[in-house]
Assembly symmetry: C2
Homo-oligomer: 139 residues x 2
């Protein structure tokens, strides 16, 4: 359960007061892990100047503007984590952007959205390589 969902659930419980029946009913609809959007759009960027902290910060600033696009349902921007180095782990990228959408149509609308087009125009000089994975959830 995410912190937000936990807070929300606790708030709900408080409102329900001693009504255990209502709390149980809400609790039953709570999945073990938070529900993710169905469509994931995961983009990995390799910078032209990997040593430039300024370039990385600029790209991250640009990526953050994408969260304002109406069809974006979840947003995560990050850098390689310091997990154990294993042969299967690719930590060669410099910046990661994960956006969640309700469906393929939401991602299509994002691609042609002026904010996204402005982002590409303004920041594409910073990266040398981009790899995109689009994933549709299975039931």
């Amino acid at each position: 359960m995410s912190d937000f969902n936990r807070r929300q659930f606790l708030a709900t419980s408080a409102l329900a007061g001693a009504s255990l029946a209502v709390s149980s009913s809400l609790s039953a609809t709570q999945p073990q892990a938070p529900v993710m959007p169905k469509l994931l759009h995961h983009v990995f960027f390799w910078l032209k100047n990997p040593e430039s902290a300024q370039d990385r910060a600029q790209l991250i600033t640009g990526i953050k503007t994408l969260a304002a696009i109406e069809t974006v349902r979840s947003f995560h921007v990050g850098v390689p984590a310091s997990t154990e180095k294993r042969e299967v782990v690719d930590n060669s990228y410099h910046v990661s952007e994960l956006l969640g959408f309700d469906d393929v149509a939401g991602q299509d609308a994002y691609q042609v959205h002026p904010i996204h087009q402005k982002f590409v125009e303004q920041y594409q000089h910073l990266w040398s390589r981009v790899v995109v994975y689009d994933v549709l959830a299975v039931d």
Copy 2:
């Protein structure tokens, strides 16, 4: 707002009844997009037998067991989405698993968890290649 959060919010609003002050206060804590866990662990699998729907279904069944691990905060399993084919899009993988954790320690605990170890043991004969990206959110 995710469907789940929307349902939760509507349920909360219903409980609060006419108390607009309470509803507004809860609404104010709602971020524009759902809060994602800080640490993402995204795994892409290439099957040994890509044409086998049975192998793919088996692997997905196995991946779903991982959601029960205590440190897992979000869970998504899927297949390549039918988004536009562009040069930067890699849709050659067969199954995707995205797990969210609070931090690197949560992911480390997952790696050595018996459920994860059983998953690798039982299902690794199905895949020919795995690529892992671990991403830590930046503020």
